[in-house]
């Protein structure tokens, strides 16, 4: 998934000495601002793929779960401070995070994709992208991939939010954007996304999305087993089909 920065907050969280709350309840945090994976509906309820998966996993583990919303920047510090026990928020497994949390097995795989205006050719090869203006969200996997692989030939524009990147694409300032594929797929189906389409093939960058728990917490194994189980019993496919007509595992 996108935002990769949490270091500053991680450092701060080390200072707070948490006390274990020994309850049977498993508290799960999600962000609530990453459609269609986690967002809030009109009534303020958390909904989305991540939330459905969380509920299915809890049912599989026969655990009593509570899902809470937590801002992205504080989501790992909050886990370490025992405000909740797991993060199911489309979080990528990265080296930096592995130093401070443990992850379950993946529950889906993120891919990157280019989006551009319909009817205009956007050749997403090194030669074809030369001199093009391509946008992405700052501090995301997509933004970094763009800089690392095309930074020398493409005019990279970095935005604070994904929405601002979409806005500039619609305004015609950008030839295309690079983003996580599934949220972009969701955006393309909205009214704002009319007139745009995916360009070229998806880029599989081996980005695994998994559940984060505190270091050494056995909960990771339980979640991994439950993911396996709902993959096998069809529950995963059922949830998947609610959001995407293709398997995102």
């Amino acid at each position: 998934m996108r935002k990769v920065i949490t270091t500053a907050c991680l450092l701060v969280s080390c200072l707070t000495a948490p006390l274990a709350l020994a309850g049977d309840k498993v508290r799960i945090a999600t962000e609530g601002a990453y459609a269609p994976f986690n967002m809030t509906d009109n009534q303020g309820n958390l909904i989305g793929f991540d939330v459905d998966i969380a509920k299915a996993l809890c049912a599989e583990m026969k655990a009593d779960c509570e899902i809470v919303a937590q801002d992205w920047d504080g989501i790992i510090p909050g886990l370490r401070a025992r405000k909740y026990d797991a993060i199911i928020a489309s979080m990528s497994i990265t080296e930096e995070r592995l130093r401070v949390v443990d992850f379950s097995e993946k529950y889906y795989a993120n891919m990157l994709a280019f989006v551009g205006p319909e009817g205009k050719t956007l050749d997403v090869t090194k030669a074809g992208l030369k001199g093009k203006v391509i946008g992405a969200q700052r501090a995301t996997i997509a933004g970094q991939y763009l800089e690392d692989n095309f930074g020398d030939i493409v005019d990279v524009k970095l935005y604070d939010t994904q929405d601002n990147a979409y806005l500039d694409l619609a305004n015609g300032r950008l030839d295309g954007i690079m983003s996580d594929k599934f949220p972009a797929y969701d955006w393309l189906r909205t009214d704002d996304g009319k007139g745009f389409e995916f360009k070229g093939d998806d880029l599989d960058i081996d980005d695994h999305i998994a559940i984060a728990v505190r270091k050494g917490d056995k909960l990771a194994n339980k979640f991994s087993a439950a993911i396996k189980a709902i993959r096998a019993n069809g529950k995963y496919a059922e949830i998947n089909a609610k959001y995407f007509p293709f398997d995102i595992y």
């Binding site: 920065i5 270091t7 930096e96 700052r138 501090a139 500039d168 305004n171 015609g172 300032r173």
Partner: protein, 233 residues
């Protein structure tokens, strides 16, 4: 926690590249803003209410809304209209650089006009009366008496405005420009060293501000030299 000096040295050239853009934004929009502020201030100080009305509304709007909102309105707002996108203005409005220049210039013009207006009204009445008594035309009076006198009075306040603008220019990073702040944030996204990078960026801002303060101090001495001159004995 660990503090990495190495990462600051490694990325310092890129930070300084960002600082250059910051300086450019402040200098260009500062000069444009000043050029815009002088006629606004003169009109604002006019005795005629009809002449006063436009600068009053302009200053009221730009001082009363956040600079971030002004930047977004110009950058994202204007481009929502096809009429804008098809007009001759689009090659300019398309560029985040010029959108930032426009927003900063118009914003600083409002504040500066108000400073100049106050300075004009602070000129001792006697000096105006003397120039009238000498038979100066209105334009000559503005050129030879009012503006030079106002310039001396306005400087301390204006140096404040320029320093504020230096720091406001960080908002350029919200419309994809890689100014000092934008560059720092982009580097942080890669190195995970927010404390070091923001510290380094802060130090660069401080250095720029120090030079500006010095320049204004010298300018002040020069323009108000009569105040520093020895009295004839």
């Amino acid at each position: 926690m660990s503090w990495e000096w190495g990462v600051i040295w490694e990325y310092l050239p890129r930070l300084l590249g960002g600082a250059w853009l910051t300086l450019e934004l402040v200098a260009v929009s500062g000069l444009l803003g000043l050029a815009l502020a002088v006629p606004l201030a003169l009109a604002r100080a006019s005795a005629n209410p009809l002449v006063r009305a436009f600068p009053y509304a302009y200053i009221f709007f730009f001082r009363g809304t956040p600079l971030l909102v002004q930047i977004f309105l110009i950058y994202y707002g204007a481009s929502q209209f096809d009429a804008v996108k098809e007009s001759f203005l689009w090659p300019v409005l398309r560029e985040p650089y010029w959108c930032a220049i426009i927003a900063f210039s118009m914003n600083t013009a409002a504040y500066t006009a108000e400073l100049i207006r106050a300075a004009i009204q602070a000129i001792p009445k006697g000096e105006i009366e003397v120039s009238l008594a000498l038979g100066m035309s209105k334009l000559t009076m503005i050129r030879r008496i009012i503006l030079p006198r106002a310039a001396g009075i306005v400087l301390p306040g204006y140096s404040n405005e320029v320093l504020l603008m230096l720091k406001s220019s960080a908002l350029a990073s919200t419309i994809t420009l890689l100014d000092l702040t934008g560059m720092a944030r982009t580097i942080i996204a890669r190195t995970y060293t927010p404390l070091e990078m923001f510290f380094a960026a802060g130090m660069v801002y401080l250095a720029i501000a120090a030079v500006m303060i010095l320049v204004f101090r010298l300018l002040e001495r020069r323009l108000n030299r009569y105040q520093f001159a020895k009295r004839p004995s």
